[in-house]
Amino acid sequence: MAAGKPVVMVTLVSSDGQSFQLLEEAALLSAMVRDTIQIGQGRGPAGIPIRNITGQTLSMVVVYCNKHYTAAAAADGDDAADEEKKVANKKQLREWDEQFINLEQDKLYDILVAANNLGIDGLVDLCCWRFADMMKGKSASEIRVKLGIRDDFTSEQRAQIEKDSPWVWSRTT
């Protein structure tokens, strides 16, 4: 980090009234925060209200932002550093990500929705990969059990699915 740069903090306020302070630069990972600050809001003591995201979820998001901001700042700081170190740091961050996202699906879902609303691309990507890993190679009923999804097809729709099966496109000759 460049010396002498003033440290600016922003406050994010969750829907249940908890507030989280973090470096503005870390918060800027979120497109939504970026937009808010760009139009000249959010720097005041009232902070930025984050609707629809509870304190529990927001705290995780803040942890993610802090970690990724420090990692990026460290990588910037020693740009002359050798390749090997950079690769090692990247690997470390990836391992951290994996640990971080190793959550039950309810929490994971909350974080995905939060990351999507806040516009944090990296975190959306991470959550999506985690969900995809949960589904990979599973049948529909296994996925339903694993993710607690209700089967809302009516019996007519089920029959329709069979009729619609891709093989209607198949050659008859």
């Binding site: 879902y109 995905l112 929705v113 999507n116 959306v124 999506c128 990969w129 969900f131 995809a132 589904m135 990979k136 190679g137 599973k138 049948s139 529909a140 996925i143 339903r144 999804i149 209700r150 089967d151 809302d152 097809f153 729709q157 699915i161 069979e162 099966s165 891709p166 093989w167 496109w169 198949s170 050659r171």
Partner: protein, 245 residues
């Protein structure tokens, strides 16, 4: 869950799961799995599940069994699966890699691709018979019924097994004669070595066709002939040529 979020998740899921499992989970998943953007890159190489090169589309493969039990598909075939993928893509498929075996009548599959996938930029093809080879210009060159935009580039990667490498070059000379040909080496994503030992990439704009050879590994006794053919083409109509062998 938001449809946007679901589509993003499905984008990170193998194509076979998006085709066979996701649409049957619930209504919103079914809608999300039909999003054409999920079907733009159709990776249909034959391997998969750690099996050999052609096992993925056999009726007894995990995919075939899944279709049989979940959709009531009686005879799973690659042709049917290709049709499904092409239909889902709704003409927006950009990349397509085909397996070594296209089924009993590869001509049907090639015609389907050339008619229904006007946006294709990159195709990886298996070794084809001379007759089927002649259909390739339909895929490479702008299809007749779509307006050819001058900056559109189609990239065609022609993958073949070793023994067919010369046949394919012979087939392609048709294309070379039809349009001004340029040979260039493409910085390539390395092709999977197991089945696709030779890859020719043809980047075709409306008029000039760029032929890129990479990963060119023909059988040793043919190597010199392949290289001389490539150089001949390079001299005939070319701006640059590089043959990494």
């Amino acid at each position: 869950m938001d449809e946007d979020c679901l589509v993003e998740i499905f984008r990170r899921l193998p194509l076979d799961d998006v085709a066979a499992a996701a649409p049957l989970v619930c209504r919103s998943w079914r809608a999300a799995a039909r999003d054409p953007s999920l079907w733009r890159k159709l990776e249909l190489l034959g391997g998969g599940g750690g099996g050999g090169g052609t096992t993925r589309f056999m009726p007894w493969s995990p995919l075939g069994v899944a279709f049989a039990s979940r959709y009531g598909v009686r005879r799973f075939s690659f042709a049917g699966y290709l049709r499904l993928c092409v239909a889902r893509a709704g003409g927006a498929a950009v990349e397509l890699s085909l397996p070594p075996l296209l089924g009993p009548a590869p001509a049907h599959e090639l015609d389907l691709v050339s008619l229904r996938c006007p946006e294709l930029r990159k195709v990886a093809l298996p070794a084809l018979s001379v007759g089927d080879d002649a259909r390739l210009p339909d895929i490479v060159l702008e299809p007749r019924d779509t307006p050819a935009s001058s900056n559109t580039r189609s990239q065609l990667a022609l993958a073949s097994r070793r023994s067919h490498v010369l046949t394919i070059i012979g087939g392609w000379s048709f294309v070379f004669r039809a349009v001004r040909a340029t040979i260039a080496a493409a910085p390539s994503p390395a092709p999977p070595r197991s089945q696709w030992s030779t890859i020719f990439s043809v980047v075709a704009a409306a008029s000039p066709v760029v032929v890129a050879c990479h990963g060119l590994l023909p059988p040793r006794r043919h190597t010199s002939r392949v290289i001389s053919t490539v150089f001949f083409l390079a001299i005939a109509a070319p701006t640059c040529c590089a043959v990494p062998v």
